[in-house]
Amino acid sequence: SLTYDANSKLLALEDASFDELMNLSQINKLTQNLVGESNPNFTPQPRETSTVMIKKLFETGLQQTKQHKFPEALKSISLALEMSQRKRAPWEAFAVQLQEVQFMLKNRVDLCLVQGRFVDALQDLEFLQNTGLTTSDVFIRKTDALIKLQQFELAKVECERGLSLDPSNVKLKALHMESTRRLAEYNG
């Protein structure tokens, strides 16, 4: 039987099947976000207050980058990203949210690469690829990160895919030669 807890505002179901549980968790998540919504006339438009906060943090990050304060810049931008994940309601326009995240991630990737944090950069680059950003600069950076991580087979696979989408890219061609050479060395 379905029960409703008036305090937490959550629904629960005894002996729920897998599909029912999924449904319930979706409803509960929306409910929790609704409860936290202060504006009674909310719309899918991204909340202005959140946007301002995120933008401010991001701009701080950019400033610090200009000043070559890379670790601090990384922190600021990461915080901005965290905000964009936490402070946005599930019903806010996804397209806007995604663009926001992707834009910030691109900056974070470069900051990570500059500081030699290759595994972190790789994660962000994979996120960008998974969410539809398949431009050459993503492949260039990912190949570079993989080479630095000594994953030469994976690097070769990446730059070959990059070249398939942009066959005349000079940088990718150079990276392909490098990853092939390093792979041959790796194999004695």
Binding site: N130, Q150, E153, K156, V157, E160, R161, L163, S164, L165, P167, A184, Y186, N187, G188
Partner: protein, 598 residues
Amino acid sequence: QSYDYDEKAETWPFFAMAVLVVVLLPLTLMQIYELFNSQKEEKFGEQTSTLNELNQVLVPQSIKKFRAKYKVKKSGVWSKKTLIVCLGWCLVAVIWKTIDSNEAVREAASTIFDPYLLLDISTSATEKEIRSAYRKLSIKFHPDKVAKNLSEQQRAVLEEQYVLITKAYKALTDEVTRENYLQYGHPDGPQATSHGIALPRFLVESSASPFVVVGYIALLGLILPIFVSRWWSRTQSVTKKGIHVKTASYFADRLFNFKPSQVVTSDLILDWLSNAEEYKIMYPHLGPKVFRNLLNDHLQRASNGEDLNEIKLRVVAKTHSLLFGLLDVSTNFRNTEISLAAIDTFKSIVQATPVSPESQIFQLPNVDQKRFSEGSVDDVRTLGKLFTYDEKKIGQILGISDESRLQETLKVASFIPRLKLLKAEFKVPGETVVTPESIPHIALKVLVVSPKHKAFPPSKFPQVFFEEEQDFEAQKDPFASALEQPPVPQTFAPLFPVERTGGWCALVMLQKDGKVIQTPLVVDRLSFSNLDNDFDKREIKDVEASFKPENWVVGTIKIPFSQPAPPQNGDYFFRVVLKSTEYFGSDLDFTLPMMVRD
């Protein structure tokens, strides 16, 4: 109301013999065929006989016991089936004798009208022969021409004979009579026919009849449905790829609900395998966690107690079909990550080595993993890199101090095949380019080399080595040339429960979206003879001088392409992956453009 019964055993023996022969003839033919075929069976190539030896020597006792226990007994000449077939034919002979010695049957046969017999001619006699035979006999048997001093009886017999001869002649020549003969078997038209039950009376009407009824009920109501339902459920419960339908639907469910946020590792694949229906059927009292742990134990080469060991080995042996089943499902869902991970998991199970950067080294026998991890001045992770050092140094790196064991390891390492790509293209049979909407296939020229061989550029091979027959036969079936190669030798896998052979799985992905576009092709025909070549990278100083292309056998791999070429001209990029199901370090991964031109 009243039936004629087969009291004189005229009919039922024929029926019984017919049934027996219908069953025995195909069975006998099958047995003879199997007998001859088993002697011609293609043996594992003698190419790596040294490795076969080691394959036997290095098998641990527990696995030897397991293999002996589950060995498929090759049925030789004297098997149960042969015995049944022989008995069957004996029975046929007995029935034949019964029919032969049966007076009633002979009598019935004698009333059969046979014009050829009456006229004393062969069945293939011409009209002329028939006429001349008739003339001769009619003169002999004509009532007027017959001898005068015969009794009434004798005369009557001769007259009857004369009538029959005339009828025989008419049956073969006269239209109406011939019609009658052909239709009813007698020139006078339909004869008296009797209907009855082809069983002796005692079975039907007297005390034995209830048994007959019960027999029929048992046959039709019990035995037949049991056999049919068993066969039906067995067919229904297994998919085309040989896995249980429940397992297949479990895999399909996992893939359908696959989220990109899920990380794909060998562990995930093993988790999925542990939930296979086959395991539940084999060991209903054990759960997926147990199977998962057993698979883990196998990868860690941990030994369990005797009972658990047998369960573990059976579980491991089953992974072969399960993984191929999973691969089939994942390629149908176009999931690249899962497909590649499944094949890597396959390798790790065959070699009893977890997937790690050092897998190529740890798959070798006698390696001291601790000493390897602690030592290693240079980063040695691949077999190719290992062979850049001299034997003594390799022994130090691998932590093997015993000379004979080191030699064993080196033998195995040098026979692990590497694929070297010489040429790759999309080919349309009979055309020089790939035209829009044509049906291309992927034609590869590869070289199977040893990790200790020195590398040389593919350009060292003159073009003529890559050329193939372009005759009509080749165009009709472009894949025939690949199938003429010898089957791959037995895999070196002393820790796998069953002796096995295996090659590579060819996967094709579309570079645009990175997804698999067709089900995998199993490549299990390639010549491994190059592995014996003496071309050690530590000894060859001048590749130009030392390399002789005629010493090397070029392998062919043809991968069918599941879709026609795109309708527009342009360059389309595909990623071809040849992943070995047996060894680490044997894979090939490259991009192949399809250039569609008019």
